[in-house]
Symmetry: C2
Subunit: 141 residues, 2 copies
């Protein structure tokens, strides 16, 4: 399994056909130490904010396009990203009150993408899915 410490950002980038620039490597290193999806703002501060805002947006878009990171929506009004490479697909539980996020393992025995594809009429392929739960965390309850 890919752990935070052993994650090789540059290798992942090159394997995906992207250039291994310092900025992108730093982004991935930051994300590799996190267990939750981070907002762009957070990624920025964790990086030390050397990378230009626009570049950060573009880098995350590129990383998402090749599947190294995944974009998640926590209904907070802005995008969140997390490392997907080397991680098991998992779901998020989001506190409606304070925004706290907890990961839970994927619960499905079967691949939900397959099941979903069988049920659609107009789709040729389904390659990913996002599952978010919403509720109240213990601290807010």
């Amino acid at each position: 399994m890919t752990t935070a410490r052993s994650f090789d950002a540059e290798a992942a980038l090159r394997a995906a056909g992207l250039r291994a620039t310092p900025g992108r490597s730093k982004i991935l290193t930051v994300l590799a130490y996190e267990t939750h999806p981070l907002s762009i703002e957070r990624i920025r501060t964790r990086m030390g904010s050397t990378l230009n805002q626009v570049t950060l947006y573009r880098a995350l878009e590129a990383l998402a396009d090749v599947g190294i990171v995944t974009r998640a929506d926590m209904q907070h009004g802005h995008a969140h990203y997390e490392l997907s490479a080397g991680r098991k697909h998992h779901h998020h539980v989001v506190c409606r009150n304070c925004g706290r996020v907890e990961d839970i393992e994927a619960t499905h025995a079967t691949q939900p993408e397959r099941e979903a594809l069988r049920r659609t009429k107009g789709f040729a392929s389904i390659d990913d899915y996002a599952l978010e739960f919403f509720g109240t965390c213990n601290r807010c309850a």
Copy 2:
């Protein structure tokens, strides 16, 4: 089952403790005729754009708070809303290329919220979830 034609917007509003204003009723009527989540922009144009932008945002927030509508994220960079009152929980399949959306019925035998709650450590309750699939539609394939 609640169909588009029979949906009583004013009754739904009052039952939820909200005032039945023309603007809100119109929003719900618009949504009732749709099978997909609509962007705020779309809702606005479908309404005939009499309602102020800010009021529209606030109305949708209020409607989402009481559960009449549901907010969905199609990874398009802005919020989408659909009527939830009277509809079965369902999922969305989103085309990454053109944005086309197709609904599919909920596939789970058990309530996923329950399963999720059992698996969390820090949550007191989970009352909703969102499941979106991403892929390529036939037309774009």
